[in-house]
């Protein structure tokens, strides 16, 4: 007599629903022939018969959800003779032995002890004492693997102890399923000290990218103080006009982007990347603009930023940011950047040390623009001041070059001349 058990279909799976019997009691079954179907979490699986014989008993009806390793049926060898046998005590069934079909890709039985040899499945020879049964159950022992030394090959308490001593004790079956990653801690009584939540895909991607960048580049940040008074005046002059004509305002960011383009045109090494031991100079200037999302960050790219004026840049920034926030960006709009700009100033930061967006070699960060007293020709004046940080990869760019670049950006902003935007 072979017990047929509910197989364990995976680590986290502790139960399944028996959806369909493919054979009826009394039917002849061949070994490995589909016997029944189970369903676990959107997956239907055909379970093959562990042995040939006659399906003598069906213990679980269709539609029932049962724990793994529950005996669902018995197959008797021969032609239906087993059908007459009385049913085994139900209490025993859950821990009974499954015979795994040898070559068949059958579901693995749950406990290591349940992998019985081919001949298993029959009751071990001779009757078993309740003590031996209990010991086997408690220690999760497959009795078919224990050699009996008692009368007529009967398994005794000593045999079980001997087996336990010699075999590494099989781990007791887990009482609980492994916690699913999103499982919140039980909130029963008292106040939990923590709350555990799985990272969103975006969060884990950001985490991965940030660490990868820190590991890749030799990050150094240099900070320059920039007088934005001229830009501020132009901005104030055109703001209302912009809103009326284009439907969007005018911020500092397109000016900073335009100035960065000037810097990159003068110092193309900051628009490069490293491939092995080669320097890749990019002939296009594609500037990524970091956009803060509710729970993350995305860096859409303004392609050929050097071909755009302030209006074009502002339009691109407004469009990319809006679509980033409504998650409508296409994949190629977040790829192919050659340099990045991050505007932490919009959140009030004075200056920060941004992380390079790989495989780029530099990133420009803009602090908040604030009216500040400054000394000009030994007089105190009120100017709109902003700190610009350039984080650069010291593997490729030396401090002097980074400062020349940032100086160029600074001078483009301080001496803004285009009246035509």
């Amino acid at each position: 007599m072979t017990d047929v058990v509910m197989p364990q279909m995976g680590e986290s799976i502790v139960e399944g629903t028996l959806t369909k019997w493919l054979k009826k009691p009394g039917d002849r079954v061949e070994r490995d022939e589909p016997l029944f179907e189970i369903s676990t979490d959107k997956v239907d699986t055909e379970i093959p018969a562990p042995a040939a014989g006659t399906l003598s008993e069906v213990l679980v009806e269709e539609g029932k959800t049962i724990p793994i390793n529950t005996v669902v049926a018995r197959i008797s060898e021969g032609d239906g003779a087993g059908a007459a046998k009385p049913a085994a005590k139900p209490a025993e069934t859950a821990k009974s032995v499954a015979e795994p079909p040898k070559a068949a890709p059958a579901p693995q039985a749950a406990s290591p002890a349940a992998t019985a040899p081919e001949e298993a499945g029959e009751e071990p020879s001779g009757p078993l004492s309740p003590l031996v049964r209990r010991m086997a159950r408690e220690n999760n022992i497959d009795l078919s693997k224990v050699k009996g030394t008692g009368a007529g090959g009967r398994i005794t308490k000593q045999d079980v102890e001997g087996h336990l001593a010699k075999a590494p004790a099989p781990a007791a079956r887990q009482e609980q399923p492994p916690a699913p990653p999103q499982a919140p801690p039980p909130s029963t009584g008292g106040q939990a000290k923590v709350r555990i939540e799985a990272m969103s895909t975006m969060r884990s991607k950001i985490a991965e990218h940030m660490i990868a960048s820190q590991r890749t580049s030799a990050h150094v940040t240099t900070v320059h103080k920039v007088d934005m008074t001229r830009v501020e005046k132009i901005r104030q002059k055109h703001k209302a006009d912009f809103q009326a004509r284009y439907g969007f305002g005018l911020t500092y960011l397109p000016f900073i982007t335009r100035a960065a383009v000037e810097g990159l045109l003068s110092f193309p090494l900051l628009n490069a990347s490293i491939e092995g031991s080669n320097i890749v100079y990019h002939n296009e200037i594609n500037i990524g603009i970091a956009v803060a999302l509710e729970n993350g960050l995305i860096v859409p790219v303004i392609r050929n930023a050097d071909e755009k004026n302030v209006v074009g840049l502002q339009r691109a920034i407004v469009d990319l940011a809006a679509r980033a926030r409504s998650r409508q960006l296409k994949p190629d709009e977040v790829q192919g950047g050659t340099f990045s700009i991050t505007n932490f100033g919009s959140f009030g930061s004075v200056f920060a040390t941004p992380v390079i967006n790989q495989p780029q070699v530099a990133i420009l960060g803009a602090g908040t623009v604030e009216k500040t007293p400054v000394v000009i020709d030994d007089a105190i004046a009120i100017r709109s001041i902003c700190y610009l940080s350039t984080t650069f990869d010291h593997r490729l760019i030396d401090g002097a070059l980074a400062d020349q670049f940032t100086g160029k950006v600074k001078s483009a902003l301080e001496n803004w001349s285009d009246e035509v935007l």
Binding site: M9, E37, D44, R327
Partner: protein, 220 residues
Amino acid sequence: MLKCEVRPLGRLDYGKAFELQQRIVEERKRGVVPDQLLLLEHPHTITLGRNGKMENLLASEPALRASGITFHATDRGGDITYHGPGQAVGYPILDLREWKRDVGAYVRAVEQVMLDTLLDFGISAERLPGCTGAWVGGAKIGAIGVHISRWVTSHGFALNVDTDLSYFGYIVPCGLIKPVTSMAQLGARVSVHEVNARLIRRFGQVFDREILQPALERAS
């Protein structure tokens, strides 16, 4: 690295696709072909899984036929669902003995393929504990239904690209009273073809398979 052959099948009738799957499953069991990923679209079809309840079908079969929808009862897991144009359907036929003998891990990995693909298009979808599939803001965007025989998988997943969502009105999708959505509804202007290209790549990454792109093949 183990290999996985991709078969882009274009638009294929559900019944024909099912026969093709069964044929490939048999070949896979015999080990004469490597793992396969079938990518296709179905014409308007409603299918009922093994555990499906007919009460989740909200129209009679004649009414469906009149609307040009075919109906199939099938052997995949899950309840009732709709397939139709604008939906990227993937049927991975994998021998899980060569990956992980773990049905739960398999389903989570198929979800991951959909989540990664969606993120490629700027859509940050997530898992909903207890509700298999890919979800955005409580609405289902990707469905899963799988059949396994001797650790060889069939059926698979369906991702709404620019599916006409009104067809879901004929059913209670997977028996859940939750809304459905699509990439188009979330503003991603992409075609099933573009999505397939990303699905293939993400599938290769998640399952750690080298993707073999065959010459374009047509199911006969």
